[in-house]
Structures are given as structure tokens and as C-alpha cells.
């Protein structure tokens, strides 16, 4: 490579970098400042928006987008190949914080896991899938070697029999409906909608509590959840809220 060509590439690279800075901020004064403006810590945009008081329904494909997400629990794994059935079952059934299988948290609630205090966040995902990796990175939390707990509540206008919970997750995950296990997704997984589907289950009239746990070593954690009916069509006539009426 000759010298003029090197110079040309250097100029081009600098130009691209400057354009990128300007796209984030017109007052950029340095790389660190620019990154903060572009992706401020604590903001969940563009992957999440704060939950509003208005009720939320599943999206047109039935995906549940409103969730309570707990900041990631430290669970170091250098590889996802360890996520065998028995490992996942043992890991997710271990106790990390009080009442983890019964609590319906509120925005801002805190739990202590080991020597860390972790906070629950009530968020609406902007996409069909809940990007846990971005949730963690936007909070400046660890993104790899993590275990996420998630909770949501769906209100059904009537008893719905023979529906199924359909889940995709990156990586392994485990799911419960009203305290009963519905799905176990093991192995080094990528997220695919309707990857695993539960047996026929019943959504009771009123509130149904969905609880999930997602684990990942290296990789971009996320998940998607919806209910489908006997014909495989999405169940949409649900509302999602976090006010547990206990019925």
C-alpha cells in the first residue's frame, strides 16, 4: 500500500467518524460525551419506552411487549454449551432473591442478589422481542454472563382453554404461568418466534401471571412471548398491566 492511499483511507475514516458524531449531537466535544448523548445511560430508547398508565394489549401478532424486567443477575458462563436441561432446571430453580416465584414487583422495587442491589423496571418493548441485552447495556450493566428475571400480568376477559404459550429466547429460558411451569428452552439458542410452544393450557378469566427467566453467557439476550389458540392464531384480546388484583 503506498503512502497517498494510506492518507486517503485515513481521511475517509476521519470523515465517517465526524459524520457519525454529528448525527448524534451537534455539540460534540469528544468521543465520551458524544456516546452519552447518543445513547444516554438510563434511557432505554430506542428499544423500550417507559410504561404509561394506559392499558396495553398484545401487538397484532399477539406478542406481549409490556414487562417488568429485573436488572441482570451475575451468572458467569464463558459458553452457552453448558445449558443442558438439568443445568437450566437447577439454575432457574435456585433462589436468588426473596419470593422470586411469587412476587409481582413494581417499577423501582429493589432486591438484593448476593452483594448487589438490583432494580425492577417497568418497560414497553418497541419491538416484538424484548431486547434484554439492550436493557442491560442502556443501564450500563453487564451484558454477558447474566440471568434475567421477567414478569408480566395479562388480564383475560374470559377463561380461554387450549391456548398455548409460544416462546423464543436467546439463550436458554424457563417460563411459568400462574406458578406452573410451561416451558423449558435449553441449549445454546438463538431467538426464534414460536420456537417452543407449551402444551395446551388455560388462561383463567382475570389476571394471569407470567414469569420467565433467561440466561446467557456470550450473546445478545432477548425473548418473545405470545399466546396462540388451537388454530395457531395469536390471542390478542388480553390486556397487560402490572396491578396485581390477586384474583
Amino acid at each position: 500500500m503506498n503512502v497517498p492511499r494510506k492518507i486517503m483511507i485515513l481521511v475517509l475514516s476521519l470523515s465517517v467518524l465526524i459524520l457519525a458524531f454529528q448525527r448524534c449531537s451537534t455539540t460534540s466535544e469528544g468521543v465520551a460525551k458524544t456516546i452519552e448523548l447518543c445513547d444516554p445511560i438510563g434511557s432505554q430508547m430506542p428499544y423500550f419506552t417507559p410504561v404509561t398508565s394506559s392499558p396495553r394489549t398484545p401487538d397484532e401478532d399477539g406478542f406481549l411487549r409490556r414487562w417488568l424486567l429485573l436488572e441482570p443477575i451475575d451468572k458467569p458462563n464463558r459458553t452457552n454449551t453448558v445449558f443442558t436441561d438439568s443445568y437450566i432446571r437447577e439454575t432457574f430453580n435456585a433462589g436468588y432473591f426473596p419470593a422470586q416465584f411469587t412476587v409481582v414487583p413494581h417499577e423501582g422495587d429493589k432486591v438484593t442478589v448476593g452483594d448487589r442491589e438490583l432494580k425492577w423496571h417497568a418497560l414497553d418493548a418497541t419491538g416484538f422481542n424484548v431486547k434484554l441485552f439492550r436493557f442491560a447495556s442502556n443501564l450500563d450493566k453487564q451484558m454477558y454472563g447474566v440471568l434475567f428475571w421477567v414478569v408480566t400480568i395479562v388480564d383475560s376477559p374470559r377463561e380461554m382453554q387450549n391456548v398455548r404459550m409460544a416462546v423464543g429466547s436467546n439463550s436458554a429460558s424457563m417460563w411459568w404461568l400462574n406458578g406452573g411451569e410451561t416451558l423449558l428452552l435449553t441449549g445454546d439458542r438463538r431467538m426464534v418466534m414460536d420456537d417452543f410452544v407449551s402444551k395446551r393450557i388455560t388462561l383463567k378469566k382475570g389476571q394471569n401471571i407470567i414469569r420467565g427467566a433467561v440466561i446467557n453467557g456470550p450473546g445478545m439476550s432477548d425473548f418473545c412471548v405470545r399466546f396462540i389458540d388451537e388454530n395457531g392464531d395469536p390471542v390478542r384480546d388480553l390486556t397487560i398491566s402490572f396491578e396485581n388484583t390477586g384474583n
Binding site: 436441561d85 441449549g187 426464534v192 414460536d194 420456537d195 417452543f196 410452544v197 402444551k199 395446551r200 395457531g232
Partner: protein
């Protein structure tokens, strides 16, 4: 003596191997020129040359007992309204040296000879050959055109032309003024069918009636009009001897002839034929029922499912049916892919059942679909089950994890699971039908507490269940990849 014993042993082993691969109907399925199989009052019927025919409760085990008057050769049957029309021919066929023949049609309300409604009526001659003309009026077969309800009859043999005439579907008699149309030469035992805008004329080529030396084989041409011209895949007219192969000798079954469509609906089509000789059964002529596949608009004779050890792969997702057990890693030393070394190349032993089975639960184990990794929890031995009957073309199968007695079973909540032992329970018996596209439909004999015919279905990418069959979806289509 020893030499004879050895030869006998080799002979038996040879046929055991063949019989493990190629199924023929059970019972006494001995017949020549079987008519199109009819389902009447819950039983299957087919009629053959010489009078009489076969009856089956399930389409797999066949016995004599079907009745038709008139003798003669090569009957065919069609069900229209409340009548079963029967056609057959007498005379001709070169039998006794002549080609003068008559084709008859008669009808009955039922094919069950024990029913008070049984009895053939209104026998009438619908076609003839005088022994001199270029036609020998035998081997007649019906086609009811689904596009307009017109009833057609093809007939003829090697002596001249195959001809087509029109009948009145209300009476079975020849339509007034109808003149025969020549549609093929140099074949016999014709049959016709319609599909997707094409009329198909199937004829049998080769030598008949010579046992294991018969070269009989079934061929086909197609036309946009029922009256032809029928061309094969190379555009050779059947009036010039063309015909694309559909079925021929296979394994111990020699000389395929006399096609008959058995449309079971929902994308499952089969065809009946006879093989001139079943080498396992004294070289006798036997009934066979096989899958009919379709490729590029042409019918292809498929083989019935063969026993063996398989990966069961979902057409929907490509993932393979497996036990829900821990994935056990194979011993492996990580290497830099492109770093050269002088390490000698040696084979890596595959993971075998003994490596993993001690880790498996002993009770029921659920199933899912996973990435196929050629592992013991993904290999299924599929074996015909004796003494429990079957369905058109095949016996019931058991599906077990290879090397074990752990069997796939339907559950009362319409799911699938594996149970520790196969006990011939009906929920452990499986019907495996090949679809017209070559994939398979897998159906338990019964689903406990359910009267519905449910099939193995992928409800998610990796989740199997039992559900109603949807012929328009890949959810219920499976592939078997031999291991």
C-alpha cells in the same frame, strides 16, 4: 446336506432382508388384474380376473370372499350415487386364440355379499370387438370426470388400440351415438384419472402372466382433453407407444400391472396394482397398495414405508424429533483449524446408546425437536408390528428409540410422549402414510379418550403435539432420514 442347509439359510436370510424392506399385503392377497379398490360400508373390496375378489377390514390384511358374477377378465368398479358400477369383459385377450370380446357394465347397491342389498342388475354390453378389428375389448376401466360429471370407459389390449367411450352415469349404459376414440396402442390394463387440468391415461406395458419373468410395468401419458392426445414426458404420443414409467419390479415383487387410484384424501394418494410374482410367496400374483407421489405434474409410484432406523425430521422447521434429555457432549480437543501439525488422523467414535442411557430417566420421557446431531436420543427404530393389522398398504408400526424398548405414544391430552416399554397398546401403534409430495404423515392408531383422527404435528419450531391434519401446512409433514 450341509450345503443344502447353508443354501437354505442364505435363501431365508435373503428374503428376510427383502421382506423387511418391501411390504406386500397380508392374508391371502392373491389376485390378478385387481379393480380399483372401493371402500363400502367400512370394508375395502377389489375384484380380479376370473370372478370373485378380495375383502379387507383395514386395507392391509386381505381375504377372499368378494363376489361378482360373469367370470371373464379384469373388472373395474366405480361408486356413483347409491350404485357401484362394475365393468368386466368376456372373450378376447387372445385367450383361446381370439380377440372377439364384449365389455359389460352392471351395478349393485353394495359390494357386501352378505347384505340384502347385494345383487348385480342391468348387465349390459357397452363395447365389443369382432376379433378382426384393431382392438380387443377387454381390460375396461372407468373415469368419472370431476369437471363435468361425464362418465368414460377405456378398454383394450396389445391387439390394436386402447379406446375410449362415454357412458351414461345415471345408468352405466353407452351414451347414444357415442363413437369410440383411439387413445393409445401397445398397452393394456388401462386406467384413467384427472388432476389439476390434466387427464392421465395409465397403461401397462411389458409381458403379462409369466410369473417371475413377467416384464409388466405401469406407464402414463397425459392430455388436456379426455379424448387425448395423451403424451408422455418426452411428448411421445401413447398412440405411438409412449408412456412414462410409474411402477415396475421392486425387490421380491416382479411385474407391476393394472393401476387403480386409491385417493384417501388430505394429500394422501395410493394406488393398487398387482405384481405378477411375489418371490416370497411361490411367485404368485399378489395385490399391492403403494403411495402415489406427484412430481412436476407426473404421477410417480412410491414405496411404502420401510422399517429401519431413522431421524424423524420436521418439514416445518427441519429439526428432528428427540427425547427431552440432557445433551451429552462428545469428548473433543479444541484445535486451531488452520494450524498444521503432524498429529495422525484417526476416526472419532460416535456417541452410542451406552454412553448416555444411564443419564436418562426410567419413566416417561417427553419429546421435542432439536438440531439433529446423530445422537442416540434422536435415532428412532421403526418396526412393523405383527398381529395387529394395518391400513392400506402397510402394517402398524412401533416407533422406539433405537436399541431400546422406549416407545412413542399418544397421550390422553393429545400430546406425545415416550413410554419405557412397548406393549402393543393402540396408542403406541403408528400409521405412516406417504404424502403426494414425498413427505410423510404420522398418525397414532388411537388417541386415548379422543375419537378424532389426530396426527403428529409441529406446533412450534421445536414442539410436537397431536392435532388435526392440515393438508395445506408443513406442520404435519415429516421426513425420515435413514441412519
Amino acid at each position: 446336506m450341509r450345503s443344502h442347509f447353508l443354501k437354505g439359510t442364505v435363501f431365508i436370510l435373503f428374503f428376510l432382508r427383502l421382506s423387511g424392506l418391501i411390504f406386500a399385503q397380508e392374508g391371502e392377497p392373491y389376485i390378478h388384474d385387481p379393480s380399483t379398490i372401493m371402500l363400502c360400508d367400512g370394508k375395502y373390496y377389489t375384484f380380479g380376473t376370473g370372478g370373485g375378489g378380495l375383502i379387507s377390514e383395514d386395507g392391509w390384511i386381505w381375504h377372499g370372499g368378494a363376489e361378482r358374477p360373469g367370470g371373464g377378465v379384469a373388472p373395474d368398479v366405480i361408486h356413483i350415487g347409491d350404485r357401484y358400477y362394475m365393468t368386466y369383459a368376456k372373450g378376447g385377450g387372445g385367450l383361446g386364440g381370439g380377440h372377439a370380446s364384449n365389455v359389460y357394465v352392471m351395478w349393485t347397491k353394495t359390494l357386501d355379499p352378505k347384505s340384502p342389498d347385494f345383487g348385480f342388475k342391468d348387465e349390459t354390453i357397452v363395447a365389443t370387438s369382432d376379433g378382426e378389428e384393431d382392438c380387443d375389448a377387454i381390460d375396461s376401466a372407468f373415469l368419472l370426470d370431476p369437471t363435468d360429471g361425464r362418465l368414460w370407459l377405456s378398454y383394450g389390449t396389445y391387439f390394436g388400440f386402447i379406446r375410449l367411450i362415454e357412458l351414461d352415469p345415471k345408468t352405466g349404459k353407452r351414451m347414444p351415438g357415442n363413437e369410440p376414440v383411439n387413445i393409445a396402442i401397445d398397452c393394456e390394463a388401462t386406467a384413467m384419472m384427472y388432476r389439476d387440468g390434466w387427464y392421465y391415461l395409465l397403461g401397462t406395458h411389458g409381458t403379462c402372466c409369466d410369473g417371475p419373468n413377467s416384464t409388466y410395468n405401469i406407464r402414463v401419458g397425459r392430455s388436456r382433453k379426455v379424448t387425448g392426445p395423451y403424451l408422455d414426458n418426452m411428448d411421445i404420443p401413447m398412440l405411438r407407444g409412449g408412456g412414462k414409467l410409474v411402477a415396475a419390479a421392486n425387490g421380491p415383487l416382479i411385474g407391476a400391472g393394472h393401476f387403480g387410484l386409491l385417493d384417501l384424501g388430505d394429500g394422501v394418494e395410493k394406488f393398487s396394482c398387482h405384481y405378477e410374482a411375489d418371490l416370497r410367496r411361490s411367485g404368485r400374483s399378489v395385490l399391492s397398495i403403494q403411495p402415489l407421489l406427484w412430481k412436476d405434474g407426473w404421477p410417480v409410484g412410491g414405496e411404502n414405508f420401510k422399517e429401519g432406523t431413522y431421524q424423524i425430521r420436521s418439514e416445518r422447521s427441519g429439526y428432528a424429533l428427540e427425547l427431552v434429555v440432557n445433551f451429552v457432549r462428545m469428548p473433543h480437543t479444541r484445535r486451531w483449524f488452520r494450524r498444521e501439525n503432524n498429529e495422525p488422523i484417526k476416526p472419532v467414535p460416535p456417541q452410542v446408546l451406552a454412553d448416555v442411557i444411564s443419564d436418562w430417566p426410567t419413566g416417561n420421557i417427553e419429546v421435542r425437536m432439536g438440531d439433529f446431531m446423530v445422537r442416540p436420543h434422536q435415532k428412532w427404530a421403526i418396526t412393523p408390528v405383527d398381529s395387529v393389522g394395518g391400513y392400506p398398504g402397510s402394517p402398524w408400526f412401533k416407533i422406539t428409540i433405537a436399541g431400546t424398548d422406549r416407545a412413542l405414544a399418544a397421550t390422553a391430552d393429545c400430546e406425545v410422549v415416550t413410554v419405557p416399554a412397548f406393549i402393543k397398546a393402540p396408542e403406541q401403534l403408528w400409521r405412516i402414510d406417504r404424502m403426494i409430495d414425498g413427505t410423510y404423515r404420522i398418525m397414532p392408531k388411537i388417541v386415548p379418550n379422543s375419537g378424532e383422527p389426530l396426527v403428529l404435528t409441529a406446533v412450534g419450531a421445536r414442539t410436537p403435539t397431536l392435532a388435526r391434519f392440515d393438508p395445506n401446512s408443513d406442520n404435519s409433514r415429516w421426513n425420515f432420514i435413514e441412519q
